[in-house]
Symmetry: C2
Subunit: 335 residues, 2 copies
């Protein structure tokens, strides 16, 4: 059985409130009293009951991070950074896996986690702005592009700009038939649309045609989808000399398909991705990619949440942008 303030108080011969004062670092406690209490705490291995504390104070010290899937490396890496950033505020992070479906995401947003958490950092795929209106509940920070001008604080990166830059990098390497893998027409595909826009922008700026046949959709952004899309492109007879994959896992799948088709990367086909996941630094060949500053994204999200928790909860939503850079590796340059 767990010990309570009451047990500690009895052992130390003081009132419950005095023990509470010691636990909470209240200054006006005589040194010898404090020592006696601390001794009793240690002997009984007392731990405060967070539920009771929360009930009384209205804060749990727990925030949630909701992501579509944990075994997508990008989200796992992001989760690590969020946990690190939250540690600065002594927050525990509850990680929630939504699966990415609209209904599940709505459940999370509308507070399945109920009164257990103080705030939510949410990376939605399918959620729309209207799903979020009228949510009185927990303060929320959104990551990613989906809910563009929704009612919540928001951390983004410049998807269009980043896609344009990396496409332009391929163009400056002399590539002319640049394919794109990962387009999506579904409402979930907000990031896909933005990256496709950047891709098209870069082509246009360079005077290259936008060729529908070079743009391959991918239902999800897993390795298998990337491989399938690449095989499809090759089978269709288009002969790209470069491929912009809308994320790194797609690119790793594409590398695989190119390898199976006997094409060399980057000699025959240059490949670039997006996200800078760990795998891309060790793949064969290593992967040129857009590297969003994940640590910064996490830090901004946590700080926005902290401000919202301490400050005015009805202040207008803010949108912050995190930086990125291009990470040039073997898949676009000969070793």
């Amino acid at each position: 059985m767990r010990n309570r303030l009451k047990d500690v108080a009895e052992r130390a011969g003081v009132s419950v409130k005095t023990v509470s004062n010691v636990v909470n670092g209240y200054v006006h406690v005589r040194p010898d009293t404090r020592a006696r209490v601390e001794e009793a705490i240690a002997e009984l291995n007392y731990r405060p009951n967070l539920s009771a504390r929360h009930l009384r104070k209205g804060r749990t010290g727990v925030i949630a991070l909701a992501v579509p899937e944990l075994d997508i490396p990008y989200f796992a890496e992001l989760a690590r950074h969020v946990v690190t950033a939250a540690a600065e505020f002594s927050w525990t992070v509850l990680i929630d896996q939504t699966g990415g479906g609209r209904e599940q995401e709505r459940v999370v947003a509308s507070g399945i986690t109920d009164h257990l958490i103080d705030g939510l950092i949410f990376s939605p795929l399918a959620l729309t702005a209207e799903d979020l209106t009228g949510l009185d509940g927990t303060p929320m920070v959104l990551l990613g592009e989906r809910v563009d001008h929704g009612p919540a604080d928001h951390v983004v990166i410049d998807n269009v700009g980043a896609a344009r830059e990396i496409t332009d990098h391929l163009i400056r390497l002399g590539r002319r038939r640049i394919a794109a893998i990962g387009s999506q027409r579904t409402p979930e595909g907000a990031s896909a649309r933005l990256r496709l826009t950047g891709y098209a922008d870069a082509l246009r700026a360079a005077g290259l045609d936008y060729d529908e046949a070079l743009v391959a959709p991918a239902p999800a952004w897993h390795r298998a989808d990337g491989a399938a899309a690449m095989r499809g492109l090759l089978a269709s007879g288009v002969r790209p000399d470069a491929v912009f994959c809308f994320n790194d896992t797609l690119a790793l799948g594409a590398l695989r398909a190119l390898h199976e088709a006997g094409l060399r990367v980057p000699e025959d086909v240059a490949v670039v991705g997006f996200d800078d996941i760990e795998d891309g630094r060790f793949s064969i060949p290593t992967l040129t990619t857009v590297a969003p500053d994940k640590a910064q994204i996490a830090r901004l999200a946590v700080e926005l949440l902290a401000e919202r928790l301490d400050g005015d909860r009805s202040a207008p939503a803010r949108e912050l942008s995190a930086p990125y850079r291009l990470e040039l590796r073997e898949s676009t340059q000969s070793p």
Copy 2:
């Protein structure tokens, strides 16, 4: 402001307890009363306060999963399975990242999560059995090898047997100079020791010498460590014709180093790993590996925890074993 039972009760014109009864599905409520209450709940968007419920009932419906690092794919995949298995019991899973250090793990085990969680599934690296003795607190299920006969329920796989089998697979392919990457002398290296034992067993059974020069240590089991260890082996002049890496990320690093050295896999050197992470199905070449049944590990862990929560908390600790199989891919067979 959030609504409470009291607000719903006033709106529906009933007592607080009746609303509670409706929320909890108590049968003896007149249909029209129930309808009125449900209407009020919907109108006010009422959500129960889990902290208060916990305080009263002693259960939160939240369990924690503590793993060393989330961006190690094995743990991310495991986390997904645990979340899925826990959903069967309507449990929320709080995922905790320990970092793998002994002190941090001790903090987690001794209840940093305090009274917020009902139970803990814990995959420790550095923790010893004695760190766990005398923990009165939360029920716990351990994953992995570290705390062999500790005081807590335990889910394992047969590391020695699996290592022996996959080493034997290399031997049956005709390989004779089989290196091992990932040995560790630190206390954290329990899995490493077991896998090394299986490796040595297989060599002995086949009448091959155990050559210390073929065994490369790796401080951690990341891709970079695998690459460094492989480079070290090659530089030392030993010429292995196969490598058993103690996990898949090490193996992916080793593939990378072999590629850089101009050696072909599997023609010159066969490579096998351990864990069956998603990456190994798309790497070039794809990776032969030991595939532990992660879904089963997660299910067993969750079920053990459920039994412990509902049953006798002082019953003797149980140890369950999860199955594995060999996944044969390109890194040991020509395409």
